[in-house]
Every structure is written in C-alpha cells, then in structure tokens.
C-alpha cells in the first residue's frame, strides 16, 4: 500500500473539505465543528502514517535519510497548533481548515522535494496558504500584516522562479541528483538568486523585514505556525539545495553564508533588546534563532547539518509554545511593560509553559534549546571557527537579557507564584493547557533525538 503515506492523506483531506464546503449550504454551526474535527482527524492520521509508512517516493519527491524525522515533527507540531486554533471559541470558516491543511502539505512536500521545481511548487503552496491564514482572522490590523507578507512574498517567489530558470538554462536539468556546479555565469547568478528567494522564507537578514510586522499582526496561534513550521521548511529547503543538491565547497560560499548568519543574529538580537512589545521581541528572537540555525548550515559539514536539523526542531517547538502561551495571555490583555494585575485570570499552566519555552529559547540547560546550541557550537568548533563562537556568545548574552526581561516585565514568575484561588476554567482553556503541557514535555524528552 504505497499510497498510505501522509501526503496523500492530507491531499484527500483537502479534497474532502472542498467537497463538503461546496455542499454545505444547509449546515449550521455545529456541523462546522464536525468539519474541524474531521481536519484534526486527517492531521492525526497523517502523523500516524508518517511514523508507520514514511513518505511517498515519486520522481519529484524522494526520501532522504532524515526526512521522515522532519516530516514527523512538522506534522506533530502542526497537529497541536491546529488543536489549539480550533479550541478557540471564535468562529472561523472552513476555508481556514483547507488553507491550514494545504500549508501542512506544502511544508512536508518541501522536505521531500528532490527537484528544484518541486521545491518551488511546495514552497508556493506553503506560502500561499499562509497568506490566507494570516489574513483569516480579520482582526483589525491583520490586513496590514498580510499586505506586507504578501508583497514581499510575491517578489521573492518571482525571484526564486527566475533563479531556477537561470539554473535550468545553465545546467539543463533541475533534479538534485543530477545537478552539479558549473562555472557558467548565469548558473551562478541563478544560485545566488535562489539564495535570495529562500532567504525570504527563512527570514535571513536582508529579507527579514516582513517578519516582525506579520508576526505581530496575525493571531499569535497563526504566528506560532508560521514561525515554527514554515520557517523550518525554508531552512530545510536551504539544506536540501546547498548540501544535497549542489555540494558547493568553495571557501567563499561558507564565508558569504557565515556573514549573512552573523548579521542576522546580531541585528535581530540587538533590535529585540529595544522593543517594547512582547510579540515583536519574540519575532526578532525567532529571526535570531533562524540565524543561529543558518550558521550551523553555513558550516556545510555533516555535523553542522545534523546540528542544524536538531536545532530547527528545538527552536520550532519552543517558538510554538511561546506564541501559543502568549496567545492565551493576549486575549487577557497582558501587555508588556505595563503593571498588569489582570495576570491572575491567565492559567498557571500557561505561565509555566511560557516560562519553560523562554528558557529553552534562551538555551538554558535542561531544555533541548541548550542541547541544540551545544551541538551547533560543537559543529562550529569541529570546523575550527573559534572566533565565530566567541562572537555568538555576545549575541547569546543579549538574547539572555531580553528573554529574561520579558519574564521579569510580564511578571510571569509572579503569576506562577502568587495567586492561590482557583479561577473557573472553561473547557477550551483546559484543552489549550493540555496541548501546552504536551509540547513542554516534548521540550525535555527531545534530548533523545540529539
């Protein structure tokens, strides 16, 4: 049964939803709830099949040795984020489920793509559906975030395809297995352009401008999805191209990558330290995390790639937790740097999850964030970049500063300590808390995959 892998399940889910949506005129709201559960079931099924059967293997999309792990963790993450979204009481249309499913499909396809054009297709599926997701919640300023995201997105997509066409003009073929470096001018220009195109997706410095505004504008559960799953997809696409497809080993390429990565880390961590809105700080911090992952990719050694993959997994989970927890704070209007007594309504578990998430982002020991950083340093050291590591230390110091500033300003720890009285907890908040617990546990258990 070679058709029982997750991609087909997702695809079938999307088709089914469209069909139902088409027929649904007569449905009332509780029927819609059924639909949501249906999508949740499809996501769960996909996750289960991924674990059992692994991924589909056709010409454009072929298995790579760790792709099963990556699709597994992507599906795991998006399944829980989805549960979090649907447990929100406010109404949202079926279109949201369709675009969510297609986004997940896109991200898993990115990992599998073994041909530049298939990579392009999957990235486009992912980004188009995320455009829809960002705008879906119609909260006041979501429009502006969506516009920014979209405009930069379109441009980068167009640039990406032009780059691919140049590569095709140069090499005559696009499948990773047969690609090889040719010192033909347009080919090299094409590769450079592809770097720019993918840079947008994984928010590297020159192309990261859209990220803070979009993260802040969209609903934080959607931001959780974007910052974790879609960014991970972008980075893995980078890995696929520059490590598997074009094993370019010229010193110059690593120098270029390293400089991009370093600028990303430093600029975003310094900017994060001066923000006065939590979501924006978290946005910049996720950009600097992406920079960190990119550093270990830039080293272009197998050790570096393994470290990068693990680190992406580590920070994606941590980002998801932090944004989801913040989502619970957000609707209780806990604002940064404001003395807020309303902290008490927020559930204690949410505060604990937020606390541990921040710890993992800052790289404190017991969490996998620390092990991720450990592996990255290990990779950097093994290829002899001592000065680079010392520089990274300073950026880490700044990140410790603003991470713990968030904690102290938002009285997170006070929330964990202070109130004793039990707040009446609604069912859906209970669901959210369980999701957060599962995710935080994964922060600790993840060590096994290091």
């Amino acid at each position: 049964m070679e058709y029982l892998n997750p991609q087909y399940i997702l695809f079938a889910g999307i088709l089914l939803l469209i069909l139902v949506d088409f027929l649904r005129h007569g449905l009332n709201s509780n029927k819609k709830a059924v639909l949501h559960y249906l999508t949740a079931v499809f996501l769960g099924l996909a996750l289960v099949f991924d674990v059992i059967y692994g991924n589909m293997d056709i010409s454009l999309f072929s298995e790579v040795q760790y792709s099963q792990f990556v699709t597994g963790f992507m599906l795991f993450l998006s399944f829980f984020i989805y549960l979090f979204i649907i447990s929100d009481k406010n109404e949202h249309s079926v279109a949201m489920d369709i675009s969510y499913l297609s986004a997940v499909l896109g991200s898993t396809l990115v990992v599998l793509s073994s041909n530049l054009i298939s990579l392009f297709i999957s990235i486009e599926i992912l980004s188009i559906s995320t455009y829809a997701l960002v705008y879906m919640y119609k909260s006041g300023n979501a429009l502006e975030g969506a516009v920014k995201y979209l405009s930069t997105g379109v441009i980068s997509m167009v640039i990406l395809i032009f780059g691919i066409s140049l590569i095709y003009a140069g090499a005559g073929t696009l499948s990773f297995s047969s690609l090889h470096v040719i010192s033909y001018l347009p080919f090299i220009a094409g590769v450079a352009i592809v770097i720019a195109g993918l840079g947008f997706k994984s928010t590297l410095v020159p192309f990261h401008m859209w990220a803070p505004d979009t993260y802040e504008a969209s609903k934080s559960s959607v931001t959780a999805f974007i910052s974790s799953v879609s960014k991970a997809a972008g980075l893995i696409a980078m890995i696929r191209i520059f490590f598997f497809a074009l094993p370019v080993s010229s010193l110059f390429v690593t120098a270029l990558f390293l400089s991009i990565a370093l600028i990303t880390i430093f600029l975003s961590s310094f900017l994060a330290s001066v923000q006065d809105r939590v979501k924006r700080i978290l946005a910049y911090s996720s950009i600097s995390q992406a920079g960190f992952a990119f550093i270990s990719i830039a080293v272009l050694t197998t050790r570096g790639i393994n470290a990068a993959v693990f680190y992406i997994f580590a920070f994606a989970v941590a980002d998801a937790i932090v944004f989801l927890a913040y989502d619970m704070f957000e609707n209780k209007k806990i604002i940064y740097k404001k003395e807020s007594s309303s902290m008490t309504q927020v559930s204690r578990i949410g505060a604990v999850a937020f606390f541990i998430g921040i710890l993992s982002l800052a790289g404190f020991p017991p969490t996998i964030g620390f092990f991720g950083k450990l592996l990255i340093f290990y990779a950097l050291f093994s290829s002899g970049y001592f000065a680079l590591v010392i520089l990274a230390f300073f950026a880490l110091l700044v990140s410790t500063f603003y991470y713990f500033n968030i904690l102290s300003e938002m009285h997170v720890v006070d929330r964990i300590i202070k109130s004793k009285k039990q707040v009446p907890v609604k069912r859906e908040q209970r669901v959210k808390e369980t999701i957060l617990i599962i995710l935080t546990l994964s922060l600790f258990i993840g060590v096994i995959f290091a």
Binding site: I155, G199, Q275
Partner: protein, 582 residues
C-alpha cells in the same frame, strides 16, 4: 609533659565564662590556676635543670610537609616560665583588690588565657607554636586593653594596639613562611644549627622580618605609641602585659633567634634603635603627668636596654635585666593601682597634693624608682653592669647620658608624689600589701642572685669604669630632680626642661601615625569609588548598545515599500557578490 604547666590556666580560661558572674569565684579559680602552674614550673625547673627536653606533636601533615608543634624545656625557657608564672600570681593577687567593683568573669577569663598563651610562648620550640601563642597574646592584649569598651579611650587605643602589633605578627608570619619553605622545619633548635644551609637573601629577609616582629611587640622606636595608649586598660593588665611579660616577648624572640639575627647582620641596627627609643622614652617621660604613662615610658626605655644587650650579643644580660625589670616595674604598677583605688586619679600632681609621704608604700616606691635608675644597693644596678658588659666606647657614653635622663624623670615622679607629709595612714590591704612588699624585697636583695645566675644562663658581668661613671650620672640626675621637684626651687628651669622635652618629642610622631591611618582609609575611599565606577562601567556599556540599537530600529518604520526595497537591495548584493567572487 611540659604542657602540664599551661593546662591549669587553659582550664580556668574555659571554666570561668561558663560559671558566669558569681561573687569572687572567677578570681579564686584564676589565682589558684596561676599558683598551680607556678608550683609546676618550679617542679619542672628542678626536674629538667641543665637538660634539653623537646616534646613535639604533629598538628597536621600533608604530602611530606609536616607541621609539628614542639615544646622545649631547657634552663632559659623554664626560668622564663618560672618568672612569668610568679609575676602572674602577684598580678592576680593585686587584681583581686583592683577589680573588686568590675565584672569579674570576662576579665579573669582573658587574664588566665593570656597567662596560658604567655607560658606557651615562653616554652615553645617550634616557630609555628611560637607564632600561634604570639598571636594569642596579641589578641588577648587587644581584648584586655579594650576591657572598658564603653569608654572612648580604651576603644581607640585597643584598636591601635592590635593594628600595630599585627604588623609585627604578619612580619613574623612572613618570616615563618620564608624559613619553612627554605628549611622545611619549624623547630628553632634545628633551624639554628642549619643556618649555613639557608641562602643569604632568605636569611636577611627572615632576620629583618623577625626583628620587625620583635620591635613591634616590644614597642620599640617606630611602634612605641601603642604601649603609651595601652595604659587605658586596667592596671593589672598594664602591670602584667605591658611591663613584665608580653612586651618582653619581643626581646625573648630575638634572644631565642640570636644566631639567626647576628647571621643576618642586624645587630648594630638593633643597638641604634635601642638608643633612639631610650632617649625618646626618657624625654617624653619628663613631661608626662599620668603616673602609668610615666611608668610606660620607663618600660619602653628598659626594653630598649634589653635590645642594647641583644644588639651586643649579651643574651644572658638581657634575660637578667628582663627578670629585674619585671619585678620592680610590676611593683610600681601595683603602687599606682593602689593610689588610683585610694584617690581615683593617676595624675602625678594631684597625687602630690594628697600628702602621701610617709604612707606605708613610700619605701617600696623609693625602691622601685631607684631601681629604674639603677642605684647601687638594688638589683638593677647589678643588672646594668651585666647589661653593659660588652658595650664599646660609644655605647657606654650614650648609656651614661641615658642613665642621667632616666634618673631625672623617674625621681621627678617620686618627688612630685611624695612631697608632703602624710597625716592619716593608709589602710593596708593584704592582697595589695603582700605583693608590693615581696617584690620590693626581691628587687633589693636580688643583686646577689646575679652571682649564681651563671649556673642557669651563661652570663658575664663586669663592674668596669663606665658602670661607675653611669652611676655617678644617675646620682647627679637624682640630685637635680630632688632640687627641682622636691624643693620646688628654680621653677622656671623645670618649665624650660619640660618645654625642651615637649618641643623635641612634640609628639609629632603621634600625628604621623594617625596621618598614616587616615591616608589608608582615604586612599581606600578613592579606590572604592573607582571600583564602584568600574563595576558600573559594564552596565554603561550595555546601555550604549541599547541606544545604538534603538537608532537602528528606525530603519524598519513599517513602510511596506521600504521592505520591498530592502529585499531588492539584498538580492542585488547577493548576485553581485556571487558573480564577482565565484
């Protein structure tokens, strides 16, 4: 077995605070402990006569370094133990009278702990043990001086005393470290006979540090101010610590390490300092009004004599003089204490107006003051002859002047106090009466003891011409002071001498010491503020990065168009770099 001498006092030092403030009990305990240790020291003196017993115990050892503590029982140490325990018995009897109104427990506990550590110091052979007791003695003197802690005087002077003696202690520690790391042993006996194996520089460093330790403990020239202020403490303390035993420890150290000091070539330095201190002591003694402070100056002066003896390699003379000085000086302190109890003041001129002449202690006072200036029948004349045994010509001449000045200022005090006839006789307290009379008897008939002292410690003495010249000088001083102070004649001459004394010594030195103290704390203040600024420099660096990064924040001012341009610029940059370089 030698530690048996120390044990009773240690027990009393621990027992007394536990028993608390019961009436007179703590006095009895400490006195009995002192008597027991005195008897034991007599026993051991007889037992170990002319023997050289070393008992050593290893304190702790680490990888072939062994830190051992050892006692030594030879004639010198046991004689000193005998002397110390005898004087402490006398002092404790006197303290019974003097401290009747005060809180007993704390005083007697500290006193017995002091005697314990003094006896230990005297008998210790390993330098480490010597240092340990040396520090204990310093600490107890700090506690005892500061006994009346609520008064401003004792608080300041106890702090000053400990700081200055601490310089000596730390010099001692440094010397200890130097000696141990070169010779790998602490015991004095083995150090002295392996002196040749020490490198010269280490020898000189160790020697000079030991001398500094000795000088600071014995309150010699650079460090003498603390002894004067130490008189703030109760009189028994001054009599025991600051006349007989503790200050003598400095001289005792140099006596024990004489070969090392002479090998380090510091002898004439010691002689020079000895003479300077003697002159200062005599001059300042002239202008002093406080009875105990006069005695303190005379103590400094007699210690200077001991250092002169040490400087001229006459250890026996120094020890004999130490013995005589301990006897008559503590007796004089008893008298000053008795007067203070009776009349509540130490001021010499007020005492003078109390018409004391003819009271029962005028004779012991006369004996005491006469033996300060070494008048013949008394023991100190013989001690002086032993002292000046191998003086060269210059030392003898200087000694004559010093003898004249000592006689002058000691008899000044005597004549000022006992000017007018006593009408009513003073009440005789046994505890006060017995020690004073006993000590005055010893200091008179003690001279004969010099002859068979040689058996105990090798001593040579000679009554050459100079000792008689010195005697004449002191008699002249006696006569002049009789003229000036007793008969009150030629008042303006005494004022002139007092003026000269004030100008010369002028106590400039005192301000100099205080100036050093303030300099340290002000310099510390500046370094402190520098440190405060330095540690905040770190956070200033952090703030500047914040300002810098908040400026860069302006770039992303939310204008979508600017984002797109940024993307394009990034794209163009990447293409250019790729094309040019690859």
């Amino acid at each position: 077995m030698l530690y048996l001498i120390l044990l009773p006092l240690l027990i009393s030092a621990i027992l007394i605070p536990l028993l608390g403030e019961r009436k007179n009990v703590s006095w009895l305990i400490s006195l009995s402990a002192a008597v027991i240790s005195f008897l034991l020291s007599i026993l051991f003196f007889i037992l170990y006569f002319n023997k050289n017993i070393i008992e050593s115990y290893t304190w702790f050892s680490f990888s072939n370094f062994s830190f051992s503590l050892s006692f030594i029982g030879n004639n010198l140490t046991l004689f000193m133990a005998l002397l110390v325990s005898f004087i402490s018995v006398m002092v404790l009897m006197f303290a019974g009278v003097y401290m009747r109104k005060e809180k007993h427990a704390r005083f007697y506990a500290e006193m017995s702990f002091f005697i314990f550590s003094m006896l230990g110091l005297v008998m210790s052979n390993s330098l480490l043990l010597f240092f340990i007791f040396w520090e204990f003695v310093g600490i107890t003197s700090y506690l005892l001086i500061g006994f009346w802690y609520d008064r401003e005087g004792p608080a300041v002077s106890s702090k000053k005393a400990l700081i200055i003696t601490r310089i000596g202690d730390l010099a001692f520690l440094a010397a200890l470290v130097v000696v141990f790391s070169t010779l790998k042993t602490f015991s004095i006996s083995s150090i002295l006979n392996s002196l040749s194996s020490m490198p010269l520089t280490a020898l000189i460093i160790a020697g000079s540090l030991f001398t500094v330790a000795g000088l600071s403990k014995a309150a010699q020239f650079p460090f003498y101010t603390w002894l004067i202020d130490a008189m703030e403490g109760p009189t028994p303390v001054s009599s025991l610590l600051h006349s007989a035993t503790m200050v003598a420890a400095g001289a005792y150290l140099l006596v024990r390490l004489l070969p090392l000091i002479s090998a380090a070539g510091l002898l004439n330095l010691i002689v020079v300092i000895g003479f300077i201190t003697a002159f200062i002591g005599a001059l300042l003694g002239l202008k002093e009004r406080h009875f105990k402070k006069i005695l303190a100056y005379s103590t400094i002066e007699s210690l200077a004599f001991m250092f002169l003896a040490i400087g001229t390699l006459n250890a026996g003379g120094a020890i004999f003089y130490l013995f005589t000085h301990a006897v008559f000086k503590s007796m004089l302190f008893f008298i000053s204490g008795g007067l203070a109890i009776a009349f509540g003041t130490y001021d010499v001129y007020e005492l003078g107006s109390k018409k004391l002449k003819g009271a029962w202690f005028t004779i012991p006072a006369l004996i005491g003051f006469a033996s300060i200036s070494a008048i013949p029948p008394f023991m100190s004349f013989f001690a002086h002859s032993a002292l000046t045994h191998n003086f060269n010509i210059f030392e003898n001449i200087a000694f004559v002047f010093v003898a004249f000045l000592t006689a002058l200022f000691s008899f000044r005090a005597f004549f000022v106090i006992f000017r007018s006839k006593a009408k009513k006789p003073l009440k005789k307290e046994f505890n006060l009466f017995f020690p004073i009379v006993l000590l005055s008897i010893i200091s008179t008939i003690g001279g004969v003891f010099l002859y068979f002292f040689n058996g105990i410690i090798s001593i040579a003495y000679s009554f050459d011409a100079f000792s008689f010249i010195a005697l004449a000088a002191s008699l002249l001083g006696l006569f002049i002071s009789y003229e000036f102070f007793y008969l009150g004649k030629t008042q303006q001459l005494t004022e002139k001498i007092k003026g000269i004394a004030e100008k010369i010594a002028g106590y400039g030195y005192e301000k100099f010491i205080i100036a050093i103290g303030n300099a340290i704390s002000t310099f510390g203040f500046y370094v402190g503020s520098f440190d405060f600024m330095f540690s905040n420099a770190m956070s200033r660096v952090a703030e500047s990065t914040f300002i810098l990064s908040s400026k860069t924040r302006e770039i992303e001012n939310g204008d979508a168009f600017r984002y797109i341009t940024a993307v394009i610029i990034g794209l163009v940059a990447v293409i250019l770099i790729a094309v040019i370089f690859i």
